[in-house]
Symmetry: C2
Subunit: 352 residues, 2 copies
């Protein structure tokens, strides 16, 4: 029977089911039933329990609950991205979050900064917290360390880059084909000397984009001039420097293909500084905010980030719901968005 003294609980720490049970005059198990909405509880009893819980400020302990529960699910999912602050990663996080929220699942996030050691360390920390699944944009070249986790029932979905030495679901863009599209677009503008500016060649997507670049040139029966290829550009400043250097060559490129966000922005900055933004064509990989507001607008290969995130999340939850089909890679198409910078023809300044 509920007491009627109205002081708040003075004991430090949090009230437990036992205390609620004591106050309501029932067994802890009955409190458990009420909290979990089991329908066989007498409505009057349930009301008493709820009142007691309310009075004590009781909150169920999901940690204990998931420990005891049969399936051991924690209703949380880990997400490892390159850098939570960059637009691509944060858009991905938000999209996965949207899907997860509908299931009452929370996201644990971590940034890897392209560091394979951190990938392993953070993945393990997440696993030690028994997340139900992991969404990973991998930094390393070997995910075999996750095999035992996969066997133990942790759902794994890779995003942007496929897992290595591990058979798991992945959701990626068609990097090679998209790079070919970009370079073809520049070739159609009459360009014959097209530079490639990209980040670490060790990143598989970067490698695929470079592969597309060389392939497109070969198809056009053009040589790949090593002098026009600059890789390993990690910072905006590196991209700026590289752009200056290739444009200072005796026979400079008339167009640039940039393999990634940060590089694109750096190149764009360099072109502006040199006053060449209307004379040198540029197509970048990855869209970014305000790309349309620059003059000229920056033409890009846009990935379907929301689609990628949504499908990744859906794939993950399908696995958690018991889908046993063999792991598969979903390849999403990209889109060439023409805004001006990519439509500058050889020898003709943009009319913008």
């Amino acid at each position: 029977m509920p007491q009627d003294n109205s002081e708040p609980p003075k004991r430090p720490g949090r009230p437990t089911m036992r205390e609620v049970a004591l106050l309501a005059g029932v067994a802890p198990k009955t409190v458990s039933r009420v909290v979990n909405g089991v329908s066989t509880v007498d409505p009057a009893l349930a009301a008493r329990v709820r009142a007691a819980a309310e009075r004590l400020g009781y909150r169920p302990n999901l940690t204990a609950s998931s420990l005891r529960r049969g399936d051991g699910r924690t209703a949380s999912v880990g997400m490892l991205v390159e850098d939570a602050a960059n637009p691509y990663s944060s858009a991905l996080i938000r999209t996965v979050e949207n899907v997860a929220r509908q299931r009452g699942v929370l996201l644990l996030i971590g940034s890897l900064d392209e560091d394979p050691a951190r990938e392993r360390a953070l993945a393990h920390t997440l696993i030690d917290r028994r997340v139900d699944g992991l969404v990973i944009v991998p930094s390393g070249r070997d995910q075999s360390y996750l095999i035992s986790e996969q066997n133990a029932g942790t759902a794994l979905v890779f995003v942007d880059r496929e897992p290595k030495l591990l058979d798991a679901d992945a959701v990626v863009s068609d990097n090679r084909a998209s790079a070919i599209t970009a370079v073809d677009h520049l070739l159609a503008g009459g360009h014959r000397r097209i530079a490639y500016l990209g980040d670490l060649a060790s990143i598989s997507t970067a490698a695929q984009r470079y592969d597309g670049y060389t392939h497109a040139l070969e198809l056009a029966q053009l040589p790949v001039d090593e002098a026009l290829v600059r890789q390993g550009l990690v910072t905006e400043q590196a991209a700026i420097d590289a752009t200056r250097e290739v444009l200072a060559l005796p026979d400079p490129p008339t167009a640039l293909f940039t393999s990634q966000n940060v590089v694109t922005i750096g190149c764009s900055r360099a072109l502006r500084e040199l006053g060449l933004q209307d004379r040198v064509a540029m197509v970048g990989f990855d869209d970014f905010p305000l790309a349309d507001m620059l003059r000229p607008g920056i033409s890009v290969i846009a990935q379907d980030v929301e689609g990628i995130g949504r499908i990744a999340a859906e794939t993950l939850f399908r696995r958690l719901d018991g889908d046993q089909s063999p792991p598969a890679t979903t390849v999403l198409p990209t889109r060439l968005i023409t805004r001006g910078s990519g439509e500058i023809r050889r020898g003709e300044p943009s009319g913008d």
Copy 2:
């Protein structure tokens, strides 16, 4: 003693301490000691335990651990922001993550989309997972629902906006003074009709910025013309429409003060469409990527987002380390960044 059959564990689920103990021929408690690096364990025994753990692919269960541990800490912190995808929120997340990582603490994140109901719901979900602390950019006007959690020992730090009906630490920018700085800057350019374009007046920071706007005008002995004030602009499109409307007035403003990111970008877009970007001055609140690459560059009041995030995280962990001093609000200064748009003088197009 370790066995030497080398098959991987076939049992479904994850190996536990007991199984490691069994394989190593020790008591579970000894495994616990080894895992936790207790130094009193015989090195040879510890090595045997580690080998057994390795062979089984054992990973400690932090869920169970934190349940049993005296302090009940989970080494995780919840973070509720407006929208994980927006640059301000994602920068904040990343900064807090950096501090948290040094302590091996993980971040659980949630987006509120300015929905007070979601704030409460997500805060409770995080509490049910027994996060050690919460970093919140609040959406609602009442955080008293957190009082019991605060009493129960959950550390709380509010960011960007102070808590209401709750006494807790906060880290904010000086919104009112910064708005005055912005408006003064426009007044110094000779402007007398300055529009205010802002988002929901119900958001405390927006209200403070508006307050600064009116105050600056009053100090200059100028009237606040209601026709030049547009609030509740939540989307970029709303900002575009509002900009068009105020500029279509019989006596249009010659300068705009925009209270927030999305609004600033919308206004900037509208000015461009109208061809007025070099004639109408603009200062925005909150910096954003590429603001310097537009023509003219967008002058802004920049918050010290990294400072805010870092101090918020440090304050949180100081509380978790036992700091009992009364809750305090840390106010961080902002910085006016002049890039062109705010330096357009009345009646003179920018020379940019």
